[in-house]
């Protein structure tokens, strides 16, 4: 009887969410299928490496549609559910994109608000939008993620100021495609050299999860 009640209660609490929250499967949760498998594995590798070396937990989520849910309400639910970031450092950050709504948001954990201020988030979004306008979603998200990594590492990446368009997104796009291609090529070669022993020991199969970082709603939203 108690079990039945528990099941019923859990059903109720699930149905009260308008839009379900996907499973946290890895650094890039690509529900909208915007990444090729190569693009995805490359970005995941970068994010994993960054987390191992620097700490902060960057996370990417793309979905097809918000289904009338408010963007900021949904992203805060996602980060609460996934518990992105370390419990003490609160160093989580979510890059979220909804394809059909043409909306993007960066949700910044409490511990990163000092570095990735709301204004900086808006600049990073400004940097990604030209890619999205051309449908180059994966390249745009990759460019944004790399810029965030640079900022956290204390480097000074070029960020768009104000409303002006960047010089030429196509050149940057080609550059990133090149990097992605080259990165994959390099990886494959390394894979052959090191033999089969490394297969499956690192990369997409290793575990990925949140640590209980807290968020207060900082960040920025944009649309294209």
């Amino acid at each position: 009887m108690k079990i039945l009640l528990a099941v019923l209660l859990s059903l109720i609490s699930f149905s009260s969410w308008g839009l379900s929250i996907p499973q946290l499967t890895g650094p890039v949760v690509d529900q909208a299928k915007l990444f090729s498998s190569l693009q995805k594995s490359n970005l995941e590798k970068e994010i994993r490496l960054f987390r191992e070396n620097n700490g902060p937990h960057l996370q990417v989520l793309t979905i097809n549609s918000l289904e009338d849910e408010i963007l900021e309400d949904y992203t805060i639910e996602v980060v609460e559910e996934w518990k992105i970031g370390d419990e003490e450092k609160d160093d989580g950050l979510l890059i979220f994109l909804s394809k059909n709504d043409r909306k993007v948001r960066i949700e910044v954990g409490d511990g990163l608000e000092g570095i990735i201020t709301d204004y900086r988030s808006s600049q990073i979004i400004e940097l990604m939008l030209p890619y999205f306008k051309q449908g180059a979603f994966a390249a745009g998200i990759t460019a944004g993620t790399m810029t965030i990594m640079k900022l956290i590492r204390g480097e000074n990446p070029d960020l768009p100021k104000g409303k002006k368009e960047k010089e030429n997104p196509i050149i940057t796009l080609i550059f990133f495609l090149f990097v992605i291609f080259f990165g994959a090529f390099g990886k494959r070669r390394r894979g052959y050299l090191s033999g089969y022993s490394s297969f499956g020991s690192s990369g997409s199969s290793s575990s990925w999860g949140g640590g209980g970082g807290s968020f207060s709603g900082g960040g920025s939203s944009g649309s294209w």
Binding site: Y119, S122, K163, S216, G217, S220
Partner: protein, 191 residues
């Protein structure tokens, strides 16, 4: 035998709110502090915004004055957790609400000044304001959830018995629904 009895009583009590009621009260208190904190953050931003706007808006003194006055009123209507009740929360919400509308009027006026919109400092502050509006919405939502839990514990049996025996907490006030709608319609700045 006595020990066993005491043991069972303790087990029973622990499910009756003796622990969960104070925990819920602390939770409400911390969430209320966060709500105030985020509103305070907004009030701290306002003088900077006004300063960056002043040079451009020579002929909008009434709009600016309205913001200054609403801010002053909001500053004076701070509510500590112990004074948190229907009346004080209503006053607080009203003061912040009129600051909301004064700010949105200012943002409408800003549209008339393209030079201002291109100002780097102003741009920065506006994004911080937008982020803060969202933080306020998040803090309010969490407060609302914590209140729901707390009010349930002190009014729904069996934990309500524990409350009336030991703690004598009264219900804490909830944000009103029309205020909620207002919070959702917080000034949005699109460029």
């Amino acid at each position: 035998m006595k020990v066993i009895c005491l043991f069972f009583i303790l087990i029973n009590i622990s499910g009756c709110g003796i622990q969960s009621i104070p925990k819920a009260a602390n939770n409400v208190e911390s969430h209320w502090a966060k709500v105030q904190n985020q509103y305070q953050r907004r009030m701290d931003l306002i003088p900077n915004i006004l300063n960056s706007v002043k040079g451009y808006m020579k002929h909008e003194s009434s709009t600016l004055k309205a913001v200054v006055e609403a801010r002053a009123k909001a500053t004076s209507s701070n509510v500590t957790f112990n004074n948190l009740n229907e009346g004080s929360l209503k006053k607080f919400s009203q003061a912040q609400g009129s600051l909301d509308s004064a700010l949105s009027k200012l943002m409408v006026v800003v549209e008339k000044y393209p030079n201002l919109k291109a100002d780097g400092q102003f741009n920065k502050l506006i994004h911080e304001l937008e982020g803060t509006e969202n933080r306020i919405a998040v803090a309010r939502k969490r407060y609302i959830e914590s209140i729901e839990n707390f009010n349930n514990l002190i009014t729904v049996p069996p934990t309500s018995f524990t409350n009336s025996f030991f703690y004598h907490h009264t219900k804490k006030p909830q944000f009103e629904v029309d205020n909620l709608e207002e919070a959702k319609k917080a000034p949005k700045v699109e460029f």
